[in-house]
């Protein structure tokens, strides 16, 4: 198996057995992974809500750029790619056609 490298054209989905959900007890979004709990910050949650196995990374960036029009698109693209790559390296995200 090779490392999955996230690019503009990647289409991502949550890996099987990864659960991204809202926790009522803690009133926050969480990622449940094997023997691991991740607490994504607000910005990461907004990105992850757009990960659906259909929307490409560039479309996710477009959608965020439209919402936060003060931030330059390049900067958003860099943040989004870095965050998604980190979660791909942790085995939480995979290519949608993998």
């Amino acid at each position: 198996m090779d490392r999955f490298v996230v690019s503009d054209s990647s289409v991502l989905s949550f890996a099987p057995h990864i659960v991204f959900r809202f926790d009522e007890v803690r009133q926050r979004w969480i990622i449940l992974a094997p023997e691991r709990l991740m607490l994504p910050d607000e910005q990461a949650v907004e990105i992850l809500k757009l990960v659906d196995g259909k929307t490409g990374v560039s479309a996710i960036v477009d959608s965020l750029a439209a919402r936060y029009d003060q931030a330059p698109r390049d900067l958003i693209a860099k943040d989004v790619t870095t965050m998604l790559q980190d979660l791909a390296d942790k085995g939480c995200l995979a290519g949608a056609d993998d």
Partner: protein
């Protein structure tokens, strides 16, 4: 009193029965027999209470949890409650049929132990002929069922040199993660410490091998590895602090903040047989005893790491310094640190024979 956060995880130790006899087993020396185990109904109630309390993950463990016939039903119950379930197994009881059923019932992950990368040494350490081959077939069944697999390798002086080969084995078996866990010296492991504690030279080589593999395998294989506390400078943050994230229910129903805590004298640990998990977590004397930092004495009390290490391990303080309220002796700031240095000195000598973990050797 600061507010008490809900626990993240429930360690469900379903049984102490196990086909393996590993001399470093973390189960207590006084093993629970089958007749003393909680019933299926008790466990269903505990799972429901855990979910209501805010527990997110349940780890089905033991002993060998597959020795329980109701494991499939409990996995289904956990899944129905929204609990993320993990099976911690030796992979020596059952195979594809069981794993497929567990996956269908909603199991999310399997942590499978190996005792070494060769059948010969693995079976010798586990005290079970043919075990290693069964584990390999079990790993294949886990992957065939589409479940993520973590290999758990407990390492010590009699297998530590094989770390690079263990990592290769994890890749060959399709694991996404390997946990290389140094033996922790409680219960059976403490009894066998002189046979298990690695030399400094062995440890440095293994640590170097792990660091090289981590860089090479980024995004392919996650390697969880922590330098053992005896060889460290500051203690481990045991269970991430007493009563902060974990609640462990033993086969008998006794609830403890960590699997070794029952050995601590003078603490009446509550039982799920007659208390709710919520009462145990929030109100029991046992879970409040070493919670937070108020209980600490010096050098912990004024230490800048007091909310990082949480004083280290209470059980180790008791076992090595005779008082659970003292600083963990593995800390170089502890006045009791000499006992750890003496054990490390002993490790440079020839190892004695194992005392295997069996009911017949239990006390």
């Amino acid at each position: 009193m600061p507010t008490i956060d809900p626990p993240l995880a429930l360690l469900a130790e379903l049984t102490h029965r196990c086909p393996l006899a590993c001399p470093y087993c973390s189960n207590p020396l006084n093993l629970e027999r089958a007749a003393g185990e909680l019933s299926d109904q008790d466990w269903r109630r505990v799972l429901a209470e855990a979910a209501a309390l805010g527990v997110l993950q349940v780890h089905f463990s033991g002993g060998e949890p597959m020795a329980r016939r109701d494991l499939l039903a409990l996995i289904g119950a956990a899944n129905g409650l929204g609990l993320y379930s993990n099976l911690i197994t030796s992979g020596t009881l059952g195979g594809a049929r069981e794993i497929d059923a567990f996956a269908a019932a909603g199991l999310k992950h399997v942590q499978l132990s190996f005792q070494d990368f060769t059948a010969e040494n693995g079976d010798r350490i586990a005290g079970l002929a043919g075990g290693h081959d069964r584990k390999q077939r079990f790993a294949e069944a886990v992957r065939a069922a589409g479940l993520p697999l973590t290999l758990n390798m407990v390492v010590h002086r009699q297998n530590l040199d094989g770390v690079p080969d263990m990592i290769e084995m994890a890749l060959e078996l399709g694991a996404r993660r390997i946990e290389i866990a140094h033996v922790q010296y409680y219960a059976w492991a403490l009894r066998n410490r002189a046979a298990l504690l690695p030399t400094r030279r062995q440890l440095d080589q293994a640590t170097e091998a792990v660091e090289a593999a981590r860089a090479r395998l980024k995004g392919v294989l996650t390697i969880d590895y922590v330098v053992p506390d005896y060889h460290g400078v500051r203690p481990k943050s045991c269970m991430s602090g007493w009563g902060r994230q974990f609640i462990n229910v033993m086969p008998s129903g006794t609830a403890v903040p960590c699997h070794a805590a029952e050995t601590l004298p003078g603490i009446a640990f509550p039982s799920v047989r007659n208390s709710s998990l919520s009462d145990i977590w929030h109100r029991s004397d046992a879970f409040n005893r070493f919670r937070g930092t108020d209980w600490m004495a010096e050098p912990c009390r004024s230490c800048e790491r007091r909310e990082i290490d949480w004083g280290g391990c209470r059980c180790q303080a008791f076992l090595l310094a005779g008082d659970a309220g003292r600083t963990d002796p593995v800390c170089t700031l502890s006045p009791d640190h000499g006992v750890v240095e003496a054990a490390l000195q002993e490790a440079e000598g020839a190892p004695p024979a194992f005392v295997y973990r069996r009911f017949s050797a239990a006390r």
